[in-house]
Symmetry: none
Amino acid sequence: MRAEIIAVGTELLLGQILNTNAQFLARACADLGVSVYFQTVVGDNTTRLIEALQIAKTRADLVICTGGLGPTQDDLTKDALAALLGQQLIIHQPSMDQIERVFSSRGIHMVQSNKRQALMLEHSDPLTNDAGMAVGIALTEDATHYVLLPGPPKEMKPMFERYAAPWIASKLQGVRPLYSRMLKFAGIGESTLEHELLDLIQAQTDPTIAPYAKDSEVTIRLTTRAASQDEADSKLDPTEHEIRQRLGAHIYAVSDIPIEREVIRILNERKLLLAAAESCTGGLFSDLVTAVPGSSSVYRGGIVCYSNMLKNKLLDVPMHILEGAGSPGAVSAETAERLAENMRRLADADYAVAITGVAGPDESEGKPVGLVYIAIACKNGAAILEKLQLSGNRDHIKLRAAKAAFYQLWKRLAL
Amino acid sequence: MRAEIIAVGTELLLGQILNTNAQFLARACADLGVSVYFQTVVGDNTTRLIEALQIAKTRADLVICTGGLGPTQDDLTKDALAALLGQQLIIHQPSMDQIERVFSSRGIHMVQSNKRQALMLEHSDPLTNDAGMAVGIALTEDATHYVLLPGPPKEMKPMFERYAAPWIASKLQGVRPLYSRMLKFAGIGESTLEHELLDLIQAQTDPTIAPYAKDSEVTIRLTTRAASQDEADSKLDPTEHEIRQRLGAHIYAVSDIPIEREVIRILNERKLLLAAAESCTGGLFSDLVTAVPGSSSVYRGGIVCYSNMLKNKLLDVPMHILEGAGSPGAVSAETAERLAENMRRLADADYAVAITGVAGPDESEGKPVGLVYIAIACKNGAAILEKLQLSGNRDHIKLRAAKAAFYQLWKRLAL
């Protein structure tokens, strides 16, 4: 099956945003065994949108559009497809009901234009939007399949995965599906990982072995085509085994989850409580913890001790350690250890993580940007201390420091 | 001048890499006053590449290609354009000499295929590659301009800026560049904003008025063509003024910055100190504050009081308010106000923000997902309290709650 991805939005043509949707959909199509031959970006303009759809129709069996399903006058994708196919737009009542519920729950008067988000083509299937109001659409006409998705990634991705992908899969006949397995690594960089597996990667044929890095985590994706999950497993297992022989101590999951989710899962399973004292990460560690549903049963909370005043007043780090000539300073092993131990006691937790460092852009206490200390205090046993020299800008250093703290905690819990 | 950007590469179609080149070129075209109407991605396949060029030729005055200029059999862009225009490929001798110099300086034997990187069309201008070996090309035929650039961003960007942009500018006669102004809004949703400005948006001609939403913030971009910044301002000012008349209380910046950055700027300017007590946002508010360089001079830090234990122990909210039959509960105005006031005192700050609510996925204390209380305590004056009913998943609710807190703080500081 030949596919074309059309991303709709003037902000893409102006370069205001990056077309991450096209990448997501391209990967998702590859996973389904669908070949993407073209990607197109077109603005919020009916004539040019119809022109793009017209061209796609002649060269693709599957046309996936993203964007232009919202409530505004600029949201024209459904209108354009309806015009191209000579169909009417009708209201999808369950979506209309849902939109009305959202507005009434917020106590806001619903602007009429929001009704546009409940429109679908008369001969189309609705695709549920679990994260927003605009309903998606799937339909087949003249042997061409069309899938219309919203533009915001947080709406588009779940709609694709839950509703559009199964719909597309149902149209594929005789194509052996792809089976993938994700190995997630922590505490190792992409280039080191690739170096350790270079012979495997270079000799790969089936399964394929694709490493990639994102959000300070490294993933390896093993992929094969097979008639069944069992057949796929029999091809994927030996490769995973070989990788584990070399790097097993860094593999924290065999699915695409961030390390904080695995850490929270283990804590939940063992009924252990966690707390955190954060200086340079400034709340990011806590934010990542609390992004995991169910974290409230293991996470006591923490202190963002961004100033020395709070490090001293709330976490009892003596001022003579934090400041003054010859003192270790706020960015030091001494401070990290006290923050972790005192945070653990204060929250009566089983584990407490402390992170202190220099996020930049300027150095601090004469210490270089990227220097980070991580301490982990635990109820039964000595504290762990890790000193890191991280690279990147302020955002990268915060994220890498937080991820490194999760890795240390995971090592302690899992190995 | 209407432009189309064609990015060439199978790795883009597979989603292995993100099409950052298209964004760079789109912005660069906007700066030159060139309107990009389409972007296309096509793989390393001569037939489909010629097809893409053929379509672009019919709908654009300027076709900018990036990728496919390298030495391998997969690098086909020059061949495709030569085939389309019926031209021969010839060696650009200075580029050939340069390639030979690079190989001999490295002491490596030059593989014959590298010669391909010195090829140009017989009737084309070379574009020097200061960061690599593949020469670029610019030519005009049948009133269509073509610019061929390499794919690696570190080669493409300098070639565009130093050689392609001036070449394109020389083809623009009497075209005035675009001038844009960004208005950033907080505390208002995209659809409400558009409703308030519907008559302006529908009547827009010059300047154009484009609203869009991202990361729980709404932006309006005003754009006009003008001969100078002064002339542009004289066209943009009345529209901005009209928008301010209606929605000025929501406009926190006239540049593309997040609201937390503006809040930190004001606090810095006035030498005011901030602290935060976060329950449902779980550290996200602090993380956003500390993402701003220089925030350490205004941000004392905060407490992520995720458990009632920490709300009580560190922030003195009485247990009879937090728990028990008939109590207001952790998600209540009473709790929010105490968290804010006690956080402010504890940190000796001028302002303290408190956020408590139900982030989901499950309701809590019998209260619905999305219910959020925000309190702001200040040294001189009464606390502000805001009750919100937010929609979305856990991540959205956390982000919307944090942004709403910044908006409340900004209102207090700026208006």
